[in-house]
């Protein structure tokens, strides 16, 4: 296990307009796009969605190559989905092909294409989000989007604090895991062979020190936070304010318009 090689997310720093968009807007935009995908009924809608996505990819300067690379792990799922839709979608007209227990209808072919395209677009649009937004920005945005929930007593501040501390310590704990594994290997521990029981047993020398060290860190961190006057979310100010610019508003309007448009097209069966 080359734990140290893990990079947090696929984020690639950049300065394109997509990178600079407010992360809140990007999240809302992505959600809007996904909703629109599910509303899309027929060719016209799909064409609009595809063109829009292509334009966004072009603007964000993500190479097609990296998109395809991101698709690799889902290839099998997409394939199976396509086939299942192809064979199992019932149709009204004459079957196009019919052999053994399989029958393929026009509807099946259409459904298979639509579904494959839809999943591919779904993944691509979320890919666009992770590629242009760091996990830190994502959690930051999520915190602010959840802010209204404070009214119904959701501990938004605590949740976001937890997420940001977690992100801060993930690399540290990965390194720690690596170190503990090496240290136990130096004492002849074997994480790579053996049967189920032996593997489960090998977890003790790894997880016990890992947990104790993690909770020791928690303890020390809590003291350090209190020393720096942390007393909950009340009366806190922030160094960095997120501010919506004209571009952000435009993007928001665009996202909403997209949903509405695709919804309307759907009603007409387009």
């Amino acid at each position: 296990m080359a734990l140290k090689d893990i990079t947090l997310g696929q984020y690639f720093p950049g300065t394109t307009i997509i990178h600079r968009l407010d992360p809140r807007v990007k999240i809302i935009g992505t959600i809007a796009y996904i909703v629109a995908l599910f509303l899309a009924k027929w060719l016209v809608s799909y064409a609009i969605m595809l063109v829009l996505l292509a334009a966004l990819i072009a603007v964000s300067k993500i190479g097609l190559k990296s998109i395809l690379r991101g698709m690799k792990p889902i290839f099998i799922i997409v394939l199976i989905t396509g086939l299942l839709n192809l064979f199992y979608t019932p149709g009204q007209g004459e079957p196009l092909v019919s052999f053994w227990v399989f029958t393929i209808y026009r509807e099946g072919v259409w459904a298979a294409c639509a579904m494959v395209l839809r999943i591919a677009m779904l993944i691509t649009c979320t890919f666009l989000l992770t590629y242009t937004t760091s996990p830190i920005q994502l959690t930051d945005a999520l915190e602010r989007l959840m802010n209204p929930l404070k009214a119904i007593k959701v501990p938004v501040h605590e949740l976001s604090m937890m997420m940001s501390i977690a992100l801060r310590f993930i690399p540290t704990l990965i390194e720690e895991t690596d170190k503990i594994m090496s240290a136990q290997k130096a004492r002849g521990a074997d994480f790579d062979s053996g049967n189920l029981l032996q593997k489960a047993k090998a977890l003790v020398p790894l997880l016990v020190p890992l947990f104790i060290s993690a909770f020791r860190r928690a303890d020390e961190l809590a003291v350090a936070m209190e020393c720096r006057c942390y007393h909950g979310g009340e009366g806190r100010t922030r160094l960095r304010q997120l501010r919506l610019t004209g571009v952000d508003y435009a993007a928001l309007v665009l996202a909403v318009a997209l949903c509405v448009a695709i919804g309307v097209l759907g009603r007409f069966g387009w």
Partner: protein, 288 residues
């Protein structure tokens, strides 16, 4: 002298093939001789930890060879495993890796993995505990309720119990008070003497190095620029300074002394040497 561990043109590249590629070791030829007490110094990130993790097969060389008793440790899987038992490695802050319910069980983890029988394990655990100065009654305690210094001893005992012929320690004295430092160094010395083991010790303290080791290997930017007995190594004062290392306090004082116009040999690095040199100089003056 007969070499016990050697590396031949050893290179190690982290995250090869990614934008974060980093060559941590470059064509390193390192030798440790049987029975010697060796020190490794180098500034942070120079590649010391990377080097020592190759010596017992925890890291695989990107290129080059690691030989233990003349044979490549990566020859077969079994050989790698055996090398891990023969070359004991104590990591930095080893007390954070304890996990068992009792000190006894923790020390016996290594011997158990070696597949020894209970009687032999028991003998080794007790002997290892003795080497590091742990009392019998401590063996039944939980390792977690011991003091920091005691935990460190338990962790070192856990490696010593495998009775390795080479014992490597990465900064074994970090964070201990002076008495703790002396006693851990004493424990290591005892093991060295009793088993005629090869000791390799990594440290940031030049004074400690000067006092304890027979030979020093300097690591800088993934290479070994020079090595030798402390006297030879500390003669490279300026170069060491440039590597961010420096020389022992006594050497600094004696260089100052010389700069003040006193005619004295500045190749002094421990307090005993300093004292004897001064006393000898005084005696000479008196004799005149």
């Amino acid at each position: 002298m007969e070499p016990i561990i050697e590396t031949r043109r050893l290179s190690h590249i982290y995250s090869a093939g990614t934008p974060f590629e980093h060559g941590a070791l470059v064509d390193v030829d390192f030798t440790a001789y049987r029975g010697e007490y060796l020190g490794i110094i180098g500034h942070t990130g120079s590649g010391k930890s990377t080097l020592i993790q190759h010596l017992n097969g925890l890291l695989k060389p990107t290129s080059g060879q690691v030989l233990f008793e003349g044979k490549d440790i990566w020859e077969t899987k079994e050989r790698t495993r055996q090398t891990r038992f023969q070359v004991g490695l104590v990591f930095q802050y080893p007390e954070y890796q304890l996990f068992e319910e009792t000190v006894y069980k923790d020390i016996s983890f290594g011997p158990h993995n070696m597949g020894l029988d209970e009687g032999e394990i028991d003998r080794r655990v007790r002997q290892a505990a003795q080497f590091v100065g742990l009392k019998e009654e401590t063996l039944e305690k939980s390792p977690f309720e011991l003091s920091g210094g005691q935990k460190r001893r338990v962790a070192i005992a856990g490696v010593i119990a495998m009775e390795p012929s080479v014992l490597i320690l990465d900064e074994p004295t970090a964070g201990l008070d002076p008495v703790g430092v002396e006693s851990i160094l004493g424990n290591i010395h005892d093991y060295h003497q009793a088993k005629n083991a090869t000791i390799i010790i990594v440290s940031h303290s030049m004074e400690e190095m000067a006092r304890t080791v027979d030979r020093i290997v300097v690591v800088n930017d993934g290479k070994i620029p020079f090595s030798g007995v402390p006297r030879e190594v500390f003669a490279h004062g300026d170069e060491l300074e440039q590597m961010g290392l420096g020389v022992p306090a006594m050497t600094r004082v004696f260089h100052r002394l010389r700069a003040m116009g006193v005619d004295i040999d500045p190749s002094v690095y421990t307090i005993e040497q300093a004292r004897d040199t001064i006393l000898a100089a005084l005696a000479r003056k008196e004799g005149k």
